[in-house]
Amino acid sequence: MDKLKLEILTPNGVIYNDYALSVTLPGEEGEFGVLANHAALSTLLEAGVIDIEKEDKSIESILINWGVVNVDEEKVIVLVEGAVAIRGESESAVAKALEDAKKLINSIADSGPAIAAVSAKIESAAKKLI
């Protein structure tokens, strides 16, 4: 299976820069998945969760509050304003990431109903990890 180069950047640094099998992004018009060799595409992202299917088929979830994605044939660049990766070695680390993630969601003032959905999503993502 082909893989795609994925870069996720925040103003405070790079949070993901590696190859992935696929990535699911929370676009403004709805969620969409990107596989390798996707046609060029640029769109905005809203608050939500990015699911990355890594090369070893494990899934990593990253919560974002706003972003823009630029897909071309070779790579996917995601620029986000705020992001929390839900990952960790131990249960407590995951719990901490979850807390940070919730803080980020609460800081997004104007996305009303979307918040609940996103909250639920990250909870389930965290549960999978534990």
Partner: protein, 295 residues
């Protein structure tokens, strides 16, 4: 020969100055490290942001994607009014750091004046604002205490009116002028044309000829918010970069001042010793001649 006491006082004062400048250098070094770290982390994001914008702009230029006619990506012939945002420090004592930016702004203004373009000057940082006020150049907008403590919310607020004005056609261009960080001992002046997004440098090559798909529903909205973020981030990054540069400039200036003070103390000490020796010699001569006369 100068008075012994006078020289002593002078030495003391120079030593005090030296202490102050050394302390300021140390403070700047510590602050620089932090600012540098922040700038380094943001640089990558800024670069990617520019890259994404450039790519989109390039594709728009080459393909006229879906007939997009966004003002932000169109080169404007004969601009009438433009905004210049300059970033200077709030404090002085950093050698030519501020004056370089001011000179660049003046040059830019002069260039536009020749073309009969009206310039709206928007200042960030006390030093630049003071300069232009003193020279009776009208400032359209000003904000201080932002360049020393970059704050995303405040910088967004500051630039938002320029973005709005641009979108509604009140202004035809936006420039950001600031002195950025190059290395620990060098600063680099940046004059960035932010709006309209420059598209000249793109050649339509094959990669870019592939049609870009922009989520259909609302491409205007997508480009609009992307450009807004792009401009906002550009200003924020300018602020961060400028702080790092300011500290590096101040560190250098204070280092030079400390060294100068050291030199000065050295030469004053020589003078002091000479004066002291002269005083002793005079006293000796007085005593000897006194003894001689009593014989």
């Amino acid at each position: 020969m100068a008075n012994l006491k006078d020289i002593q006082r002078q030495i003391k004062s120079v030593t005090n100055t030296q202490k102050t400048t050394r302390a300021m250098k140390l403070v700047s070094t510590a602050k620089l490290r932090r600012a540098e770290e922040l700038a380094k982390r943001s640089r990558l994001y800024a670069e990617k942001m520019n890259q994404v914008i450039a790519e989109i702009a390039g594709r728009i230029k080459c393909n006229k994607v879906g007939g997009i006619d966004n003002r932000c990506f169109t080169k404007i012939e004969n601009p009438k009014i433009i905004d210049i945002v300059f970033v200077t420090a709030d404090k002085g004592l950093c050698a030519g750091f501020n004056i370089q930016t001011i000179k660049a702004v003046n040059k830019l203004i002069a260039g536009f004046k020749e073309k009969n373009v009206k310039v709206r000057l928007r200042g960030i940082g006390k030093k630049g604002i003071e300069y232009f006020k003193y020279n009776e150049v009208e400032l359209f907008d000003e904000v201080s205490n932002l360049s020393s403590k970059p704050d995303k919310v405040r910088s967004d607020e500051f630039i938002s009116s320029s973005i709005e004005d641009y979108k509604y056609g009140k202004i035809d261009g936006l420039y950001i002028v600031y002195n950025g960080y190059k290395s620990i001992i060098a600063q680099e002046l940046h004059v960035n044309q932010v709006l309209p997004v420059a598209t000249e440098q793109f050649e339509c090559n094959e990669v870019q000829n592939s049609v870009i798909e922009i989520e259909a529903q609302d491409e205007e909205h997508m480009l609009d918010s992307l450009v807004t973020k792009y401009v906002e981030y550009n200003l924020y990054y300018s602020l961060i970069d400028s702080v790092a540069a300011e500290h590096s400039a101040r560190m250098q200036a204070m280092d030079a001042a400390t060294n100068n003070a050291k030199e000065m103390v050295k030469s004053l000490k020589v003078e002091f010793n000479k004066a002291r020796q002269a005083a002793i010699t005079t006293e000796l001569i007085e005593i000897i001649s006194g003894v001689e006369s009593m014989k």
